[in-house]
């Protein structure tokens, strides 16, 4: 039997809450526990790349240049729509838990920005 084709996915979780949606401070450990638990249940794990990823991007609402530091998660998934949608749904929820407007997701080098369901800037 041919093993299922796998794809490498990676995503970035900034270590600070968004300054417009929230206060720009580090997440509580509860937020990181939430992510760990979800990855544990749904995907049986992930690898965290060493160190932090420093970057900058243009805020889609204000146009301001934002600098951030992120943890990078790497995960191998079967190359089918159900598995990839499961990861997209998780990251959509993560936008809310980590107070982010969007989360960077790369699927075999193809980049998507996953937005939260409740993009609240009030």
């Amino acid at each position: 039997m041919t093993p299922p084709r796998m794809v490498e996915c990676s995503f970035l979780i900034p270590i600070y809450r968004d300054t417009q949606l929230s206060d720009g401070e580090p997440h509580t450990i509860e937020a990181w526990y939430w992510l760990k638990d979800r990855l544990w249940d749904a995907f049986r794990g992930a690898t965290i790349a060493p160190g932090l990823y420093h970057g900058f991007y243009e805020d889609p609402d204000s146009g301001d240049q934002i600098q951030d530091k992120s943890r990078k998660y790497i995960i191998a998934l079967t190359d089918d729509a159900a598995s990839l949608d499961l990861l997209r749904d998780l990251l959509c929820d993560a936008c809310s838990v980590f107070h982010q407007k969007m989360i960077y997701l790369s699927i075999s080098g193809r980049v998507e920005f996953i937005r939260g369901a409740n993009h609240d800037t009030s």
């Binding site: 401070e25 580090p26 997440h27 509580t28 509860e30 937020a31 760990k36 638990d37 544990w40 009030s122």
Partner: protein, 162 residues
């Protein structure tokens, strides 16, 4: 580590080891040693998830169950301590407790607000870490649903008299 002494997590909650078998106790010891000798948060997270995952997978324990074990919760807490010590995460506060209370006892934030008299708008700001509730406001709201605020000592700290 022995079964007699419970592990105390970052929130001051005891995790009892009485039901752990010798192999689980040895794994807890290994994780504690690893956290001490390799205090890099990411490194430790990769280490413990592999160690704990393979340990319980080999025993045929489903992931949703292994996540509830004392070993998993201790490993998670050890990782949390490394993150806090490195300044990469903060300790949970009353907002985390509020979120959990809403999830556990109410269907929606709206239902929680109706029961407590808190405004949905203010709750949204507070849970987003943009504003704080006044102590009186929060105490009265919690009293309406049978909860109360309590002052507790931070785990591992003694009272500063300065």
């Amino acid at each position: 580590m022995t079964r007699a002494e419970p592990y105390t997590d970052l929130k001051g909650r005891p995790i009892f080891l009485t039901d752990l078998d010798p192999e689980e106790l040895a794994l807890v010891d290994d994780l504690r040693n690893r956290a001490e000798s390799h205090p890099d948060w990411n490194d430790f997270e990769n280490y413990w998830t592999q160690a704990v995952g393979s340990f319980y997978d080999a025993r045929g324990v489903p992931r949703v169950e292994s996540r509830r074990t004392a070993v998993y919760r201790i490993a998670e807490d050890l990782g949390g301590r490394l993150a806090v010590e490195a300044g990469l995460a903060s300790l949970p506060d009353y907002r985390d407790d509020l979120e959990r209370l809403i999830q556990d006892e109410f269907s929606t934030r709206r239902e929680f607000c109706a029961a407590t008299g808190l405004s949905e708008d203010m709750l949204s700001h507070v849970l987003a870490h943009r504003k704080q509730f006044g102590i009186d406001t929060l105490a009265k709201a919690l009293d309406r649903i049978g909860y109360q605020l309590r002052i507790t000592r931070e785990p591992g700290r003694t009272a500063s008299k300065q």
